[in-house]
């Protein structure tokens, strides 16, 4: 297993390098000018100066190597510096700087990650926690009213886009009923029961919208996987041994059914970081998804490049994790 993991990690390096280069090429081809959003009164020479200062228009290979160096060497070293482990001279190492804020891109990311993890991550967890029991019961009681109802709800949850459910919830619960705020306040500091309650209130709507969407998908998966397994011969064996229905379903069948579902869940984790771009926009959660949109609108190439590449890393990483987890859950799979 360790061998396999190491081999996969080694293979991931060239893959990721190619991906990063492709992202770079595409962004280079993209029209757009980071000075485009500056006031029109700024004369052309000044714009040119600004561009030069930002490093726009450098030959692509130089820009790419600089970015690579920044991402793989300088940023990790900077991180070590901050942990108190200074190696070499920190001031000689330029960090990856955002065109828009002129600040380091990584610091921007760090500011945004907590919101995204809280809102999108929590909704993923909540989604899974609802989806699994629903999938199990729907399959066990196939075609019962519970199953029919669950099928209907998950069809709706799956086919109605989150921007619609999101807006609907805002209209009902913020505008009409006034229960929850429609704008997520990132500056809110949780330090008392009152502020905690406020935090919960502002999270409820975005988390619900996303959780329903996730649950719709995962519960379908869970149901299908359970149905596949419920008709297997080993289930009959378990019953013939005199095991209770609870053991038959929750030990024998569930354990087998979870194998593909866990894989799907693991593969879906990178999308948490990718943020629910649309949901973050609707509820004004300033998370990573929103940051990406702003970066694209402002032609902030270093930001977009770094963020996109991070997603690529996460996707490759969670693919590997999914495979490893699969191997751990299914004894028939042996890597090496």
């Amino acid at each position: 297993m360790l061998n396999y993991t190491l081999r996969r990690l080694l293979f991931a390096i060239p893959t990721l390098l190619v991906i990063s280069f492709i992202i770079f090429l595409i962004l280079d081809l993209a029209p757009g000018d980071p000075t485009g959003s500056l006031p029109l009164t700024i004369p052309a020479e000044v714009r040119a100066k600004i561009r030069e200062a930002l490093g726009v228009g450098e030959p692509i290979h130089i820009a790419y190597v600089k970015w690579l160096r920044g991402f793989f060497i300088y940023e990790p070293l900077h991180w070590l510096d901050q942990m108190g482990l200074v190696i070499g001279d920190p001031s000689s190492r330029p960090r990856i700087i955002s065109f828009a804020t002129r600040g380091p891109v990584v610091d921007l990311l760090m500011e945004r990650i907590p919101q995204t993890l809280w809102v999108v991550g929590l909704s993923y967890v909540v989604g899974i926690l609802i989806a699994i029991p629903i999938g199990v019961i729907s399959a066990y009681k196939q075609y019962s009213w519970f199953d029919q109802f669950g099928t209907f709800i998950s069809m709706v949850g799956f086919s109605v886009p989150t921007f619609f459910t999101g807006l609907l919830m805002i209209v009902i619960f913020s505008v009409q009923l006034g229960w929850f705020p429609s704008v997520y306040d990132t500056t809110l500091e949780v330090n008392s029961l009152g502020t905690f309650w406020l935090q919960v209130k502002q999270m409820i709507m975005p988390v619900t919208v996303l959780a329903l969407f996730n649950a719709a998908q995962i519960s379908r998966f869970m149901r299908a996987s359970m149905l596949d397994n419920l008709t297997q011969d080993y289930v009959r064996t378990a019953r013939a041994k005199g095991m209770s229905e609870k053991v038959v379903v929750l030990t024998h069948v569930l354990r087998n059914s979870l194998i593909p579902v866990v894989t799907v869940i693991a593969l879906g984790i990178p999308t948490i970081f990718g943020g629910a771009i649309i949901t973050e926009q609707i509820f004004r959660v300033n998370g990573l998804g929103q940051l990406l949109i702003i970066g694209i609108q402002g032609s902030d190439f270093p930001l977009v490049q770094t963020l996109t590449f991070l997603f690529a890393i996460l996707i490759v990483l969670f693919n590997l994790i999914a495979d490893i987890v699969y191997g751990m859950l299914d004894p028939r799979i042996r890597y090496d």
């Binding site: 011969d233 005199g242 209770s244 053991v247 087998n256 004894p331 028939r332």
Partner: protein
């Protein structure tokens, strides 16, 4: 165990399938009863109905009584029935490749019923599991408990299944074609093993098979099934010496005669009956050489001919005349 008038139907999209049509038989302590009949004759459905192991719905046990230890298994609630399943009656299935749970090691799967029915703790159950694996002839038993089913060959898996079925010292073992999925040499080993275990443990066995040859070698009594009916029932010797039902005769004919050097397998002409409707006539009549008018109008009931020998047929093959006038 006494089974009376067991009827099982399946409600499917294409209508009702009458898989078992009023079957009665009994099983004495320690005896070996073979059930033979071609594919689809309802052997498995009958046996699984006894313990309600069929998926209900689509299956429905329409009528019948299964008396065991003075109680009707079909009237029991699930909790009571569970104690019988695995505890008093063990089951072995046709396909050992799929009958074990792939994600649990065999130790866990053998220990489960021990903990459930015999109230053993983990350690005792483990010790007993080792004993059982040794009993069914798996070498290196204590190490193999931690292996998963895919690490065993087909024959070994069937041995594990047998160990599970025998775990709680059942009074009855129902073996549903335990050797059909295995190759010939392994088949012979499994049959030997069952014989041996029967001698050692003395449980009653219901042995389901296609193979009259095998049945002859091991059983005390035989049930011949056709289209969801028992068509003949006799002691082994009587059945082979004096088969009374045309279907039994046809089955015996399909066995290659000893020393005949015959290599072509003979088959029974025609195809198994359509069981989509409740049978009104003898289900075998369309394929039967002896069929006459009455066979197409009325379904013969099982009737006693002598001692322990029953047959359901209007024609007396020995006298070459209808069994009853009228």
């Amino acid at each position: 165990m006494d089974v009376t008038d067991l009827k099982t139907v399946f409600h499917t999209q294409d209508g009702v399938v009458h898989a078992v049509n009023g079957i009665s038989f009994h099983l004495e302590e320690g005896e070996l009863l073979s059930v033979v009949g071609e594919s689809g004759s309802g052997k498995s459905v009958t046996m699984m109905s006894l313990l309600k192991l069929l998926p209900i719905p689509p299956a429905e046990i329409a009528s019948g009584k299964v008396m065991f230890d003075g109680k009707d298994l079909l009237q029991m609630d699930l909790e009571e029935l569970r104690k019988i399943r695995g505890g008093q009656i063990g089951f072995i299935f046709q396909d050992p490749m799929t009958s074990l749970n792939p994600v649990f090691n065999v130790g866990f799967q053998i220990m489960e019923p021990l903990i459930e029915h015999m109230g053993l703790d983990k350690k005792q159950a483990r010790a007993r599991a080792v004993e059982l694996l040794e009993l069914v002839g798996i070498p290196g038993a204590s190490d193999r408990l931690n292996d998963f089913p895919h690490q065993f060959s087909g024959g070994m898996r069937q041995r594990v299944m047998i160990a599970i079925a025998l775990a709680c010292d059942p009074k009855i073992l129902i073996a549903d074609e335990p050797t059909t999925a295995l190759d010939v040499t392994i088949q012979a080993q499994i049959i030997e093993l069952i014989k041996e275990l029967r001698k050692k443990l003395g449980m009653a066995i219901v042995w389901i098979t296609h193979d009259l040859g095998v049945a002859a070698g091991i059983s005390d009594r035989l049930l011949v099934m056709y289209g969801g009916f028992v068509v003949e029932h006799a002691k082994v010797g009587d059945l082979y010496k004096r088969p009374l039902h045309p279907y039994t005769r046809a089955l015996l004919n399909t066995l290659p005669a000893e020393g005949s050097g015959e290599t072509r397998l003979r088959s029974i002409k025609g195809s198994p009956p359509n069981i989509g409707a409740e049978p009104k006539s003898c289900p075998f009549a369309p394929r039967c050489d002896y069929a006459f008018e009455r066979c197409h109008k009325e379904n013969p009931l099982l009737e006693r001919i002598e001692g322990v020998h029953d047959v359901a047929c209007w024609w007396d093959v020995e006298k070459e005349a209808p069994r009853h006038d009228g």
